[in-house]
Symmetry: C2
Subunit: 328 residues, 2 copies
């Protein structure tokens, strides 16, 4: 049923070392893991899958595939204000998957779990005749009853994002040969942001008590804003000129103003998008300073009747082909 | 990235109803779920995957695939003494997977989550160009520090199994055309045990305070016994004549005594195999009576030096081609 004859040796070589620091993982020699949240906290759980040929390319480096798998889940936890603790991992391998590729995958996990302070707690290692298929359940903890939700934003509140927006979407364009900036370093930077997102793990928990609603930007800024607005029952107005952009994104936009649509709708940013009332400005500045991650006000929430719009520097609505509104 | 254009409508139609009873699942409209274990309990987590063509056949009914996916995980929780609470589900669908098949899958989950008292808490719905691929993380709770482990068994203790052993392996033989019993009902019974195992959810938590070590039989009775023995540092002696057999298994064995090997090593039983000291006999009988699930003593644990053997009615070791010992 499971991968033979190597399932157990694979687990021992590749995965058990990733569980060594977690007493509740029993060195991956048992059937389940145990976890008791810190008193006053509750468990927060999220899961995301990556499929070869759908979410990553067959020639993507194993390390970056593994790191992306872990990081997209950590980004969900961060946007919910949760501190990551552990993860469960399902891997489906082909018989011909090179052992070196699997070792690279485990090395990517090892590096990032050290960086973000969590451990592997368990998993399932199976074989597949099809594309590689990975599923990761991330477990964190947040103060009981205070996990940040998509619901809770109110008209009139400010709208904020962490970091910079649009780099990953431009990085995908670079990977696809649709964009090539003059400075080689710019292309590499964008590609890096696409391959290995930077979940805002250190910042997210500080948003509890500040953000009225929060989620991470994965489908695209406007699409995820639409999710937040739908859950909160509000509309929103985004000032395109206020978008925080990296130098490579500024260069891309200078070369072709049409890239504004890519920035607003492209996705894979894994930044936190949140709402907060006006009296939280000073707290937001302190959180940004403490984490070293910039937080930028990009617009405001409005009544639901006003819809969800992005406007240019003169206040004119931008005509975007796709906002994610179809999900309503 | 994810399945388009139907991801959100699929979630709303098929999966959100499965989350309706769980406040911490937020109707699947948020990025994560929250769970706080009952005071005095801790969270128990396990994950298992099923791949089309590896763990189930393309023409298996959708309902039974979904129920098996949930039940193999519930069996792990039961063997650990945990009460199931919720699950996270990753599904990878092909563009051409019929909506009716997906509806059947959701209906199978709906039926079994009602039966076993848990809810869907979250998941990820993606597309794949390859075989269907499902991964399910089951979350339960057990008294803090008392989850049943594979480690803990001691030489001299009794060895017990729940239910009957070998039916699923014989059912697979029926499915493969390698076995056909005279009574049609026998074949259907065995096939049913293969397709839809019966996790011992109501019984498992009662084994806390009784079992010194425990796991569920999935790889095969002897292979899983070897896992328990390895973790506990003991050997074991199984009396083949003591194996609890269903009437169809008795009929199969009457027709061909060679099936004893299938019963001992075939797997997919999803019964609980546990060890207990002699003073627990009366408690074991009470637990069996309360749950309505028979518990049978099938042998005893021994010093590690005695190895792991199955013996016939005269005490002669059975020569089994495969015990699972290669994992040592």
């Amino acid at each position: 049923m499971a991968l033979r004859p190597d399932e157990f040796s694979l687990i021992a070589e590749l995965f058990a070392p990733l569980a060594a620091q977690a007493p509740g993982a029993f060195n991956l020699t048992d059937d389940a893991a145990v976890f008791a949240p810190t008193p006053g906290m509750e468990t927060v759980l999220t899961v995301d899958a990556l499929v070869e040929g759908v979410h990553f390319l067959s020639n993507d480096p194993a390390e970056s595939v593994a790191r992306k798998l872990l990081r997209v889940n950590l980004s969900d936890l961060a946007a919910k204000g949760a501190v990551p603790r552990g993860y469960l991992l399902t891997t489906a391998w082909r018989a011909e998957t090179p052992l070196d590729w699997m070792r690279g995958f485990a090395a990517g996990l090892a590096e990032d779990q050290r960086r973000f302070g969590l451990s592997l707690w368990g998993g399932d290692t199976v074989s597949t005749p099809g594309p590689l298929n990975f599923s990761l359940t991330a477990i964190g903890e947040a103060p009981a009853g205070r996990m940040l939700r998509r619901a809770g934003a109110r008209a009139g509140e400010g709208l904020y994002v962490t970091g910079t927006i649009g780099d990953a979407a431009l990085g995908l364009a670079v990977a696809q040969g649709k964009l090539r900036l003059a400075r080689a370093g710019d292309n590499a930077d964008l590609l890096g942001r696409y391959r290995v997102p930077e979940p805002r793990v250190a910042l997210g928990p500080d948003l509890i008590g500040i953000a009225s609603a929060s989620l991470d930007v994965s489908d695209g800024l406007m699409a995820d804003l639409a999710h937040l607005c739908a859950a909160s029952g509000v509309g929103a107005r985004v000032e395109a000129a206020a978008l925080p952009l990296s130098p490579p994104a500024v260069h891309a936009l200078a070369g072709d103003a049409g890239f504004i649509e890519t920035l607003l709708t492209g996705g894979d940013d894994y930044e936190i998008l949140f709402s907060a009332s006006a009296d939280k400005e000073a707290m937001i500045a302190r959180v940004a300073a403490r984490s070293g991650v910039p937080i930028t006000r990009i617009g405001r929430l409005a009544d639901a009747a006003e819809g969800i719009v992005a406007v240019d520097h003169a206040g004119r609505p931008l005509a975007l082909k796709q906002l994610g509104f179809r999900h309503f």
